[in-house]
Symmetry: C2
Subunit: 598 residues, 2 copies
């Protein structure tokens, strides 16, 4: 073993794996995996988003899927490498119906991690590069339509004379990028958005909001941001980009359209979606329904005794208009995570007396350190210089099994503790309750497990540390009065404004409202890994609940996540939808069971 | 010589050239050039766009510019190659004020062609990559403005409380891409456009219009078209892209704004530009004034006896609304180049009886063959696979001296004659007068020399060949009557519609209208090379007259060209403007004299 090169080892493994596939030998394939193994498949084998953990799971999946998948033509891509006893290799492959790309990590010639992803469906490739459409039709034909005429005709017909195959409820970045992918795949799609224009969901946010993830992480599919795009895009600039992206991607985008109700007709195998478009009711009958209303979409507002007596303003952070009208006022912000910090800082900058009420601990990740330590290897100028663009970064990220991801993350946050010891020390001195996740694995695991519980610090922590933003920690608001609030420790705080920076609920709450509680229950809790950590109860799921894959409600899907996830996973969701549109065989392996309702 | 590698030869030449620069030895530098040599400089040495042809010209330029330019640090980029006795090498270099990139062709160790181009000004680099702005300002400051507030404030002030440094008259693709470059360089600029929105100049054209150049040739700076963009973009799709681009590039774009008058105040060293913005008169006082009204901008309409008696419709091709209202009518199209063919084909497709009047010969370049033979090496999927993107393609194109460019082109069109012999034969049989340029050098030389005289065939030629589009060749319209026209051969043609597809005049006609005839004369004829071929009288200029470089009217510039030229040469024009904005020393070497007035 030690006298072979990484190339030879990887090639041999691929050859053996390919041979096992071709000869339909499950045992031969399983024998190539280590006892401690993870095979994450994004659609290509399982028509699902699923991680097979351990030999039994691998065997079970292959027994069910190997023959029909018909995987073959495994080819190395680039040069395999080795470090710390792990050989890493990239490869392409084919299946009966599709083409794919994957990554392999070998330990002692056995697969430790395997990632297989579907990149395109045979016969239904996007028309790009040499296969792009001509545009001008050469030759001449009487009565032909121009591009504009065709586009206008499509926009007039779709949803009326002709039904879309997919309706996406939610026209934020998630709905938009999924629609762009479906457009390229030729799947008739309508995006439903309550705001008038694409980008408005960003424009409507408080004025100082900027993205917290750096630009290299945030590109949309097909049109990366220009190379002078700010590291942290201001909300309105992003709003403009989304508006223009929606237009040039030729997305059928219904702004000023409210989704009222959706119901599934089992007999017809289609949905009826009632929307109100610019005041008029329209009935849409798509086959597939996608909800893209946001991980941080369904506001959570605690019911506090006396809230109705409050004489000042009170609103959830998602409705916070910004600090402009509150100069000289007293504001209480309930919550201590991202929105709370952003809002408190903006209020302070505008001369508002602001107190943050911290109920439970928060993970603080200073932005610069986060960029450098957590993302820099994959999403940065440095990464690009090392040949890792966001396409590659996405695949590297996807290749790390969720089960062991925390082990990759813990060292990052150990380093962050050292680097930021001063800030953390001063925060604790000010009474702030800090954490690094239940197991020290930091921000991204908290995000995956619970979608909350952190602040990417772009300046507010300094204000908390130095007392500019007043802090009451380890308490809650017990009772609200006309001009003040009483905390659980008995303190009374005068208040003109209460902001509930109290987070968001599981996305299937939208389903309860828009479809039915039964369907919401059938789908179950959305997001989280089942890690048995705070706000992420077990059992272990292995993947994010209900995201980008078949749910237990027929023909209902959920899309979303941060810009990186929207970008990458829209690829796999769009392929699953396209396959159904083309009536290909898509037997789902390992449909996840529901363990939690909300 | 024969036992050295291309790398060694190129390296040696660069070392010697660099040493001559550093030691200020003009003779040593000149000695490195062949007798038959061409040194094309884009700004870096000459603060001009200028080709030095022959040793005397090289010596004269170096005597004047070598010391002050202070060129140094010549480094090879990539691997030099050799073919047919010519060594080709790419390199980067610096000057006192700037950085540059260049290309070298050696024959027997002497420079046959040298290209030096300025890529950026030291200290004024675009904020891209690792130097991009942050966006979110870390830390907190009271009273800060959001991105949107800053943008809105800038839009409100510029042109009113604050004057732009540059005003660009003309908001088509030329004005837009120049403005994008200037924005990135931080030069306050306003674009004046008579149509309401960016992209309208394309939307207003006849409905079937598509670009005639293929997509890989057409990218705008900073944001290439997505990889599924049609090969030939339909006009409305391009219009939408330009509108989007203008917005995301944060260009200060004044639509619905008409430029009325401009005059130069020598004492103040600034322009006064009177515009009518949405009905209100505004006075702008930029230092620099750029005209970007289009190579095909100023319509040429011949005065024909009896035109005022015509009862039908008559208009220049630029005003042609498309074929929709003329079904069943009789149409006469005067002209036989691009617009004429496009319009005739669209009319035929809509059931119009159409006759093309060909006054002089036309070069027909079938699109597929043109793409493959003329552009394919530099602008195609194939080129990309060979590592040549449009950035590289632009530089390769720029490295071929205009003086000898026809020698590169003639073989291309010899091949085209063979490939398209059938079509050409049938066209001639139908009476069509064909040419391949005066010297057989085909389309691009005709474009550079006279901006006209060709048709990139996307189907109309077939209709001419088979008689669907009727043809009268070698004639002109002598006289117009209420319902017919008489040709110079005596034929009378009934007509309901006359389209003057009679081309465009020199861009300085705009100057005569908007500034003064004196200034128009001072600037002189725009475009053309002085090749002493049809419509391009000598003497030899060596570069396109008045394009992208200092004119003989102080602080007046002209921008434009096709999408490739707009893209590439906006780089050099923007750098010249930025240098003046920063009050750097920009002594212009070899200001071109005026030999023709229009």
């Amino acid at each position: 073993m030690t006298d072979t090169t990484p190339l030879q080892r990887a090639q041999r493994w691929l050859d053996q794996f390919g041979a096992a596939q071709t000869s339909d030998k499950t045992d031969a394939a399983v024998a190539l995996f280590a006892a401690d193994c993870y095979w994450r498949d994004l659609v290509s084998f399982t028509w699902n988003i699923r991680t097979q953990e351990g030999l039994d799971a691998v065997r079970d999946m292959l027994s069910s899927r190997m023959t029909e998948t018909g995987a073959s033509n495994f080819q190395l891509e680039g040069e395999p490498t080795e470090a710390d006893g792990v050989t890493e290799a990239w490869f392409t492959f084919e299946t009966r119906l599709a083409r794919g790309r994957g990554q392999l990590r070998l330990k002692d010639d056995k697969a430790w991690t395997l990632l297989t992803t579907m990149t395109e469906l045979k016969g239904f490739e996007e028309k790009t590069g040499s296969h792009r459409i001509k545009g001008a039709e050469h030759g001449a034909q009487q009565g032909r339509q121009s591009w504009l005429e065709r586009r206008e005709a499509e926009e007039a017909r779709l949803g009326y004379e002709a039904q879309p195959y997919v309706v996406i409820i939610g026209g934020g970045q998630g709905g938009i990028v999924l629609a762009a992918r479906l457009k390229r795949l030729g799947v008739p799609t309508i995006v439903i958005e309550k705001n008038p224009k694409a980008g408005d969901s960003w424009r409507n946010r408080y004025k100082t909001l900027c993205l917290h993830d750096p630009v290299w992480y945030d590109h949309l599919p097909y049109m990366p941001f220009p190379d002078d795009w700010p590291v942290f895009a201001p909300k309105d600039k992003l709003g403009d980009w989304l508006e223009m992206y929606t237009k040039v991607m030729e997305i059928n985008y219904w702004g000023s359209t409210l989704a009222k109700k959706a119901s599934f007709d089992e007999a017809k195998g289609e949905w009826t979606v009632v929307v109100e478009r610019e005041g008029k009711e329209v009935l849409l009958r798509p086959k597939q329904l996608v909800f893209a209303l946001g991980v941080s979409g369904y506001p959570n507002v605690p019911k506090i005794e006396g809230a109705e007596t409050f004489l000042g303003e009170q609103h959830h952070s998602s409705k916070h208009p910004g600090p402009e009208h509150y100069a000289g006022k007293k504001c209480v912000v309930l919550g201590s995570n991202n929105s709370a910090h952003d809002i408190c800082a903006a209020l302070w900058e505008n001369g508002v007396d602001v107190t943050m009420i911290q109920r439970s601990s928060t993970h603080i990740a200073p932005s610069e350190s986060l960029m450098e330590l957590a993302l820099g290897g994959l999403y940065s100028e440095e990464a690009i210089k090392n040949g890792i663009d966001h396409h590659k970064g996405d695949l590297v990220f996807a290749s790390v099994p969720y089960k062991i991801m925390h082990t990759f993350q813990i060292p990052v946050y150990d380093e962050m503790k050292k680097r930021e010891a001063d800030l953390y020390g001063r925060l604790e001195k000010a009474g702030f309750m800090l954490d690094f996740g239940d197991d020290g694995s930091g921000l991204f695991m908290k995000y995956l497990r619970r979608g909350s519980g952190y602040y990417i610090d772009v300046g507010a922590s300094e204000l908390v540390a130095d007392g500019s933003i007043k802090l009451k920690s380890g308490v809650d608001i017990q009772c609200i009065h006309p001009k003040s609030v009483t905390l659980s420790d008995g303190t009374e705080l005068p208040a003109d404004l209460i902001v509930y920076a109290t987070g968001y609920g599981s996305m299937n709450r939208w389903l309860a409202d828009l479809v039915s509680p039964e369907v919401a229950d059938r789908v179950g809790k959305v997001w989280g890994l089942g890690s048995n950590t705070t706000k992420d109860p077990g059992p272990w799921e292995g993947e994010l609940r209900n995201m980008w894959k078949p749910t237990n409600q027929q023909q209902l899907w959920i899309h979303g996540g941060n810009l990186h996830q929207s970008r990458h996973y829209s690829q796999f969701l769009s392929l699953q939808l396209k396959a159904r549109y083309e009536e290909l065989d898509t037997p789902v392996y390992g449909q996840a069971a529901v363990h939690h309702l909300r």
